[in-house]
């Protein structure tokens, strides 16, 4: 997983609440066998509308999504996170995220930032008025900054430490290699094996 310390980029205002995982990535995309290539499926239904915010030329290359409350409800599919990342988003800001989506996002290095709706409103206004406005998401100082806005955010220490160091769950677990080996050495011989190795 790529480390996340600080990111600055242009932002997309998504003025919708309750964006569920089916809207983020429709079910028929789940038959794919890779973690990449989901960018075209991101918000697929809405993207058919040329006036949808993501389709506007001034939003091309934006990397921060500023969404309405209850973002990511619905199924547990990790594909929703992959689709956002494949499209190029590094961070999503909302006043409330669905639990499973949030867990999945942090596991995959997509920073989900919870800010009060009032601040989200301010960000919306700013980036709607000036599509070139840059938003900085700073995980070291736990702050979101943009012109005229400085907003602190919370993130639990464990998740923050993992993101800052780019440690995915697997690398963290592998730091406990000695514990795993010790456990393995003590397993009884009657435990089942699928093959002889």
């Amino acid at each position: 997983m790529e480390a996340f310390t600080k990111h600055t980029g242009r932002a997309v205002p998504l003025r919708r609440s309750n964006v569920d995982t089916d809207q983020i990535i429709p079910a028929h995309w789940l038959k794919k066998v890779t973690r990449d290539g989901f960018e075209d499926g991101l918000f697929e239904a809405w993207r058919k509308d040329p006036s949808f915010v993501l389709n506007r030329p001034e939003r091309a290359g934006a990397t921060v999504l500023v969404a309405g409350p209850d973002f990511g409800t619905g199924s547990s599919r990790e594909h929703a996170v992959w689709a956002l990342q494949n499209y190029g988003f590094k961070a999503v800001i909302s006043s409330r995220f669905a639990d499973i989506f949030r867990g999945n996002s942090l596991k995959n290095g997509l920073l989900t930032v919870v800010l009060e709706q009032g601040v989200v409103d301010e960000l919306w206004e700013l980036i709607e008025k000036d599509p070139q406005a840059e938003v900085t998401v700073d995980l070291e100082s736990r702050e979101v900054r943009a012109e005229g806005i400085t907003a602190p955010f919370e993130l639990d220490e464990n998740a923050r430490w993992r993101l800052l160091n780019g440690l995915d769950d697997i690398s963290i677990t592998l730091q406990n290699e000695a514990d795993i080996s010790a456990y393995e050495a003590g397993r009884p011989s009657y435990k089942p094996r699928t093959v002889q190795v």
Binding site: T34, E78, I172, T173, I180, Y183, P192
Partner: protein
């Protein structure tokens, strides 16, 4: 203070415990199939990691496999690509795989127990929610997401927070024709599809102890439909007898040591559960679902409920929507509901006892005119066993279709699907909208009810059949 069964198995697998962190648990058995594994293998490849314990890992093909013409190339390109990806990944990483056509191929949750790999006191995971099935052996077994699949492949462990425990005690005798399926459907209707959320369920009591291993698997399989993390049943002589002699069962001294350990795996008398539910087995009857989630069920003798009778507003709305989708009206007797299709199979009810039960009911009878009955063994081996007992002939003579093993119409990822508006009586586990095919309507039932329904053409139990149904030509009822 004593410990529950779940706590004992949990504690025996803690690799590392530290303040403020989830426990790191060792995984004894990792089952793989084609749908949820490709991105996990991809992740390993990108990070240059091997599979840590090939000897604790096994894969099979089930969700996408066709049940007809299995020797021909798979028609659907997407299904074919998923299966080919699994084959490529298993070959590259060295994972044991049972492919379509192999005698050990089948639904992943039928294959594990049948090989003797699922054993008491083990931790079992799979990228599939019905992994709870394996809890019937006193294993701690649960479904995981794709990132976790990769985590287990790479480390053979998982960081997990310990769930709470709930005892579901079922005492007394199940009445005739009332099966494990009816019992679990009744439990889910009682506690709701969210009732088990955050819990590991332990099914116990005299009615559970009397169940066969296969019936216990049916119960644990559907724990997830109550929202639970897992379901478990303490191992006993029935469990040991089922495992003994299977391919991967412990042998010789190992067997004795294993049984000695397995006998310790029961909740202590003074163990405290976080929640408890008590059910009287004698009060149960054949049970069917009328709605679009497994908690919307009722005894077969009842009528479709009136949504207005629900006090809870969201339940009322859910019932209204369900009736609309299902094309049913409040007050309609459940027995009057006519079906187009009967599906016997899945990891809930696709084992040999289920096939025997269904066969014993259709034997000498005919599937009703206009009804299609699909019988899909849970694994190739179950299919072979059924053939050796002549069950395939019983089904075929009755006018049913005898198919090859796989998930099949349980979720319709292969060509076995309901057409829009079609109605099924199905021995599977989910009656969600569109689960068995776009617009399809599903009633969850036991194999016995499925078979009687096939003969009469409407939802029915074996008690509704008379001797007159025997040898009645198709079309005459």
């Amino acid at each position: 203070m004593g410990r529950t069964l779940a706590e004992k198995v949990w504690d025996d697998h803690v690799v590392r415990r530290a303040e403020g962190e989830p426990d790191l648990l060792f995984i004894d058995l990792h089952l793989l199939h084609e749908v949820t594994s490709p991105q996990a293998f991809d992740g390993l490849r990108q990070a240059g990691r091997p599979v840590r314990r090939l000897d604790l890992t096994i894969a099979t093909e089930d969700h996408n496999t066709p049940t007809l013409d299995i020797d021909k190339p798979i028609a659907d390109p997407v299904s074919r690509a998923q299966l080919e990806t699994l084959r490529k990944n298993c070959a590259e990483f060295g994972v044991r795989l049972h492919s379509l056509g192999d005698v050990e191929q089948g639904v992943v949750h039928v294959v594990g127990p049948q090989l003797g790999l699922t054993q008491p006191g083990t931790t079992v995971v799979c990228g599939d929610s019905h992994t709870s099935t394996h809890g019937a052996f006193g294993a701690l077994a649960f479904g995981i997401g794709t990132s976790q699949v990769e985590h287990v492949l790479a480390t053979q462990t998982l960081p997990l927070a310990r769930p709470k425990t709930m005892a579901i005690t079922v005492d007394g005798e199940l009445p005739e024709d009332v099966t494990a399926k009816d019992l679990i459907l009744a439990i889910i209707t009682k506690i709701g599809t969210g009732g088990g959320q955050g819990y590991i369920l332990e099914y116990r009591g005299s009615a559970i102890e009397k169940l066969s291993m296969e019936a216990r698997m049916t119960i644990c399989n559907m724990s997830i439909e109550a929202g639970a993390r897992a379901g478990m049943i303490a191992p006993d002589e029935t469990t040991f007898a089922y495992i003994e002699g299977r391919d991967h069962a412990p042998k010789g001294e190992d067997w004795d040591a294993a049984v000695a350990y397995w006998k310790t795996l029961r909740s202590d008398d003074d163990a405290v559960f976080d929640a408890e539910v008590v059910i009287d087995a004698a009060s149960l009857a054949p049970f069917v679902t009328w709605g679009t989630n497994p908690g919307q069920g009722a005894p077969l003798s009842a009528a479709v409920p009136d949504p207005a009778s629900y006090e809870d507003a969201s339940e009322r709305l859910a019932a209204e929507k369900a009736l609309e989708y299902m094309g049913l009206t409040a007050g309609q007797p459940l027995r009057d509901i006519r079906v187009d299709t009967v599906f016997v199979g899945s990891c809930t009810n696709g084992r040999i006892e289920d096939l025997r039960a269904a066969a014993s009911i259709v034997e000498g009878r005919k599937v009703a005119d206009g009804v299609r009955m699909l019988v899909v063994p849970g694994s190739a081996r179950v299919g072979l066993q059924a053939v050796s007992e002549g069950l395939d002939l019983v089904f075929k003579e009755a006018g049913a279709e005898w198919r090859h093993a796989g998930c099949s119409m349980c979720l319709g990822m292969n060509p076995d699907q309901l057409a829009p508006g079609e109605r099924s009586a199905s021995t599977s586990n989910r009656n969600f909208e569109g689960r068995q095919g776009k617009g399809g309507r599903t009633h969850l039932v036991s194999p016995q009810v499925a078979a009687a329904t096939a003969v009469l053409g409407h939802l029915a139990s074996p008690a509704d059949l008379s001797d007159a149904d025997v040898r009645t030509p198709a079309g005459v009822r």
